[in-house]
Amino acid sequence: MKARRCSQSARQAAPSSAWAALLLAALLAPALAARAGSPDWLQAAARQPLPVYPSDTEAVMLLDEQVTTVSDTGEIKTRYRRAYKILRPEGRKFGTVSVYYDSETRLTYLKGWSLPAAGKEYEVKEKDAVETSPFGVALYEDTRYKVLLIPAADPGNVVGYEYEQKRRPFVLQDRWMFQDEIPVRRARFILELPQGWEFDATWLNHARQEPQAAGENRWLWEVEDIPAVEDEPAMPPWRAVAGWLAVSYFPTRPGLQAKSHGSWGDVGQWYARLTAGRRQATPEMKQKVAELTAGQATLLDKMRALAAFAQRDVRYVAIAIGIGGYQPHPAPEVFSNRYGDCKDKVTLLGAMLAEIGLQSHYVLIHTDRGQVTPDFPSMLNFNHAILAIRLPADLPAENLYAAVEHPQLGRVLFFDPTDSITPPGQLPSYLQANYGLLVTEDGGELVKLPLLKPAVNRLLRTAKLSLSSTGTLAGQVQEVRWGVPATQRRASLIDTPAPERRKVLENFLAEFLPGFNLQTVEVENLEEYDKNLIVRYQFVAQSYAKTAGDLLLLRPRVLGQKGDDLLERQKKGKERQYPVEFEAATLQSDVFEIELPSGYTVDELPPPVELDTDFVAYKSRIEVNGGVLRYQREYMVKDVRVPTERLEELKKFYRQVAADERSSVVLKRKAP
């Protein structure tokens, strides 16, 4: 996708530059590791009997313990202990520990151990760690990682580590993620609160468990034998399927209560306060608004002009330091720099829209649909900001598919200025059917963004082709896209240097044509994002139809693939566990006319196909008239989520589509 995704809370993500750190660590490895005694908790974890795991299990987490102690000042100290038994060579990765720290979070302790099945133990300390920065979308963040390599992380051995972080969080909430990519033998969360504090615990993707009292103002939750969450194609995001516990703390001190969020309204209020006063327009901004909207006849056109400015003339650059991970820069600063991250762009656009009389609101969201959990009102859910623009009731609806009626705010249009390709009215696929926090002056509410109808995300491919008696297929194709298919193709073309763009199409044709010559390519409206993207091309493909004696075998589908093998890629012997999540609803059609070679008659035609389910539909039909074969098909994704219990139906659907895509017309040479 062209869209830049903004991360406000990437603090727990692994550094993408870990390789760099590991390279350095590897170079310096001889200095690492010393002999020492491992702690009792690790030895106890290593001694426990284990159930039998599937033969492909890389490792098992013997213990995952998180002890959180909250002080009356709001400082949170958390001690983490983890122990793994490595079962297979692939499990060696669990001997690498990556721990973050930043200006709000101190790392006060870090140690790792290895307990070889035979031989003496190893110990590594914080001083042995390599330090590195995250290398994601941000230009600069104050987050750092310590990466520690535990020696002898070999099959049969147990490794473990312990670290402690002290932090003064912006919000008094925590997450205990007890499910992992490997089985977890035992996981434990211990919470200690100051006298008088209260908490609220929410279980996600796991049956609720009441805590055990573990002392005064101390509670314990423990789970055992949690199965691994294994990757499946097109599965929902991790947090939507893995078990975790969300905890909110409620302090007694009035000064801390603003950090405490028990409802979406609380979260909205917190963000409203954080962004207050950031959307003031300077004279220069007002002048720019006037300049951009001059000559624009309608309010909608004016809005589009300002939106385009925020999308394209404000470069995406993220600099996240401290609260800057959440708080946008003031609009004048973003305007002057002409750069900023998602919340900066939203802030600037909001300020500019106000100048033409359009009010707007921040919407906090996550760029993976399903990550936001309505049951857990928290800032920790989000990594992105977009805008909800309030539209006057009398504004014509004109292609505003991303607009919804809000009971209090009236008509509201969701718009993401960070996505530089998707125009106002459309909505990037990852935001559709996704929950976002609509922030208003007096609070906020969680809203579900619309899922755009299939017809809005359209691909229409038409071709006029001719087939020779030697099997050569030649002719011209026109592809018209709008909505998500247009965004996808635009992104692939724009991200490719212009001199190389022809290759994008060649790559596509090579999937379907054995030997071809792409003769011409013409792209219309590539950078006019609010218009249909039109791609026209001509090709010649020799031996497309196969000659076989007096037969000519023609696959009428020619281009494009609607079949999907996502359910065929399931790991052998494993049942699919999770629903399928499509990117977007879509409607795609092919209409191909193929002039048949003279001297041939149609001997066999594939039968028409019509498949319909609650989620997807497909139909194809072939007609021959006056020496011209007309192939028509239509593929529709109606809903973006297919529940697990309906996946067999989906699998069967795609197998039938695949069979239809392989089908051939048999042409026979007429007798002389």
Binding site: S17, A20, A21, L23, L24, L28, A29, P30, A31, L32, A33, D56, R88, P89, Y122, K127, E131, T132, S133, F135, L139, Y140, R144, P151, R312, R315, I319, N337, Y339, P497, A498, P499, E500, R501, R502, E506, A510, E511, P514, G515, L518, Q542, S543, K546, A548, L551, L553, D565, E568, R569, K572, E604, P606, R655, A658, A659, R662, S663, S664, V666
Partner: protein
């Protein structure tokens, strides 16, 4: 394997780069002398401001209008100056800048930047420069000065300059890689060599435009001016980038005007002393030889046996990296000579090659070590006086009139086969006399063979099932064995299963029934599996259409693009041999079989033939690629060859309901 000691260190270029570029390991440092970078910006011409696109490559996102770099080995600094024109929205990303450096070994000084708007208004950068930790370990810090320029506009120009000041007492080699992801309109590159002592600066230029050379200047610098340097583009199946990019390698050597032969002879002499010292245990070696070979063995049999003996040594170079403490606890002593290698039973790859060298010599054979440039990275240039380019070693043994190049130090590498990267490459022979330079033999297709034999049945619905045996030999076996080196049984099985499954449509089921030869060297790696491929043949009503390329239905054409910039490069030549028998469904006969395709060509051969046998069809397919490097001029030939392959693999047998008859 080990490499010979580097005679001079290397200083990869310091550079600025957009975010996300790779680490640079620039290790230079000389003695500290203050120097200043440019105080002023160079004037921008109206023509530069008006420029809308790169005329040589329309549609480019940006272009370096001017690049200036000066390397000063006297005062030990480098200055860099970039002027970049932004042509498109995408090009704005060049406004995010990082300058990498090693803290404590050098500093970034005089960093300045500005943005020039399309109307010519220049705004100096006054924003924050962040010092980003790329990686830090104890006192070693690899850092990046990171900043972003405000208000970068399409049609505008960004400029920045900085000085990298080094602070060490050593001279290192320098590389200027001139070609990058952006085209350069004009470049002015200069170097001021260190002139003390008995050294002088030399250089080797690669892929430079004709007539371009470094010109000596009155101020003791050398200057190179270039125009219109194209952007570097990546392509599939291209040689390693180091083979292709316009670059200059600088190095210091004796002040005397001595040629490459003198330099390499001196290197060889030094190496030879080391080798002889390690190998000089004649009695022990002869005793070992006597235990391994029989007096009546032919020289080749002896050599084979000694090769196998050398490979019995535990090869530490192919084990996972261990921490210092782990190594300490293993209590392994360093091998000081071949006697230690034999006694300890372990060694590095280099130790193993030296042991083999000693054994061969002790068996009365003429053998020498040879250092080569593995072609995964470099091409050996004798003119470049840097032993660092010789990153691989083999043993050259004279057997009759033949010289065999052998590498027992590579695990699983069979006798008389070199790992692909060591084949067809140049290097030096470590011997007191005789030929100085060597070239290892070119790889041949017979050295990488994949042979598939299948007995399959087709049913009336088009489902195909049966058993398949695949034999991987030579490079094909070696690569898979090395890839699976760190895998357990389950991992190896999955690796093979994933590969084999990838040959068939995704609905196909593959069950691996047997794999033999994982730990072998001389024997092939053999895989047996059962296949169930639903809907493999396409029913049309009365007929079934069966593609002849049973194993190729998912294979992509390797050369999809009409245009090509670089030469074509495979790791090695190869052969694919398929023999498939397919039983026809009950009641079906062959209506038509595709004619045999046989396309012999200079670059290889492709043949596919189907035969009608009672109740079955037999398909034989042969694909041979004879070379591993093809000049760009051969691209269209190669592309059309693969067109033929694709067409042949997609050709279809037509089966129809009815009594058996001969194919038409």
């Amino acid at each position: 394997m080990n490499s010979p000691a580097t005679l001079l260190g290397r200083r990869p270029e310091a550079r600025s780069a957009p975010l996300g570029t790779t680490l640079l390991l620039f290790l230079l440092v000389l003695w500290p002398v203050a120097s200043s970078a440019k105080d002023d910006w160079l004037p921008i011409t109206p023509e530069e401001l008006a420029l809308k696109d790169n005329p040589a490559s329309p549609g480019s996102s940006a272009m370096i209008l001017y690049r200036e770099m000066h390397t000063d080995d006297v005062k030990s600094f480098e200055t860099h100056y970039y002027r970049i024109k932004i042509f498109t929205e995408e090009g704005k990303k060049y406004g995010d800048i990082q300058v990498h450096y090693w803290k404590g070994r050098g500093q970034v000084k005089d960093l300045k930047a500005r943005v020039v708007q399309p109307n010519g208004t220049a705004v100096e950068f006054t924003g924050v420069v962040y010092d980003k930790v790329v990686a830090k370990y104890r006192d070693v810090r690899y850092m990046a000065k990171t900043f972003t320029l405000p208000d970068v506009q399409v049609g505008g120009i960004i400029e920045y300059q900085y000085r990298l000041q080094f602070d060490s007492m050593r001279l290192y080699d320098t590389r200027w890689t001139i070609q990058r992801e952006l085209a350069i309109r004009r470049a002015r590159l200069s170097i001021r060599p260190y002139s003390g002592g008995l050294t002088s600066l030399r250089w080797v230029m690669y892929h430079m435009p004709p007539g371009k050379k470094l010109e000596a200047q009155a101020d003791d610098t050398y200057l190179l001016e270039l125009e219109n340097v194209p952007a570097f583009t990546e392509e599939k199946y291209m040689p390693p980038e180091d083979w292709l990019k316009m670059r200059i390698e600088f190095f210091y050597s004796s002040g005397l005007p001595l040629g490459p032969d003198f330099f390499w002879r001196r290197v060889v002499t030094e190496m030879n002393e080391g080798v002889d010292k390690f190998v000089d245990k004649r009695k022990e070696l002869e005793r070992e030889v006597a235990q391994v070979v029989l007096p009546g063995d032919t020289p080749e049999t002896k050599l084979r046996k000694l090769y196998a003996r050398a490979q019995q040594i535990e090869n530490l170079s192919f084990q996972r990296a261990k921490s210092g403490e782990e190594e300490k606890r293993e209590k392994r002593k360093d091998n000081k000579n071949v006697q230690d290698v034999l006694k300890n039973g372990y060694g590095s790859g280099f130790d193993i090659n030296l042991l083999f060298l000693g054994l061969a010599r002790a068996a009365g054979l003429e053998a020498n070590l040879a250092f080569l440039s593995a072609r995964s990275q470099y091409v050996f240039s004798p003119e470049l006086f840097s032993a660092a380019q010789l990153n691989s070693n083999v043993v050259a043994v004279k057997l009759g009139n033949q010289t065999l190049f052998l590498d027992p130090a590579t695990r699983f590498c069979p006798y008389n086969l070199l790992p692909w990267e060591e084949s067809g490459v140049k290097g030096i022979r470590v011997a007191a006399e005789g030929d100085l330079y060597v070239k290892s033999p070119d790889p041949v297709s017979a050295g990488a063979v994949e042979e598939r034999t299948a007995a399959l049945r087709l049913d009336a619905e088009g489902n195909l099932e049966g058993s398949v045996q695949v034999v991987f030999a030579g490079q094909e076996a070696l690569r898979r064995r090395l890839d699976a080196l760190d895998e357990d049984d389950a991992g190896r099985k999955k690796m093979i299963e994933d590969e084999v499954k990838g040959w068939f449509p995704s609905a196909a089921q593959v069950d691996i029934t047997r794999v033999t030869g994982w730990e072998g060297t001389e024997e092939p790696l053999t895989v047996e599996f059962t296949l169930h491929a639903p809907g493999f043949a396409v029913p049309t009503g009365r007929r079934l259409l069966l593609p002849l390329g049973i194993f190729q239905s998912q294979q992509q054409h390797p050369f999809q693009h009409a245009q090509r910039v670089h030469a074509i490069y495979f790791r090695h030549p190869y052969q694919e041999v398929d023999r498939v028998t397919i039983e026809l469904p009950e009641g079906y006969r062959i209506e038509s079989l595709p004619a045999t395709r046989d396309k012999p060509a200079d670059l290889g051969r492709y043949r596919i033939a189907a035969q009608n046998q009672p109740g079955q069809v037999q398909v034989e397919r042969l694909l041979v690629i004879s070379g591993f490097y093809f000049e760009k001029a051969y691209y269209s030939l190669l592309r059309s060859f693969y067109d033929e392959v694709k067409k042949g693999d997609e050709s279809q047998a037509v089966l129809t309901v009815g009594e058996a008859s001969g194919a038409k």
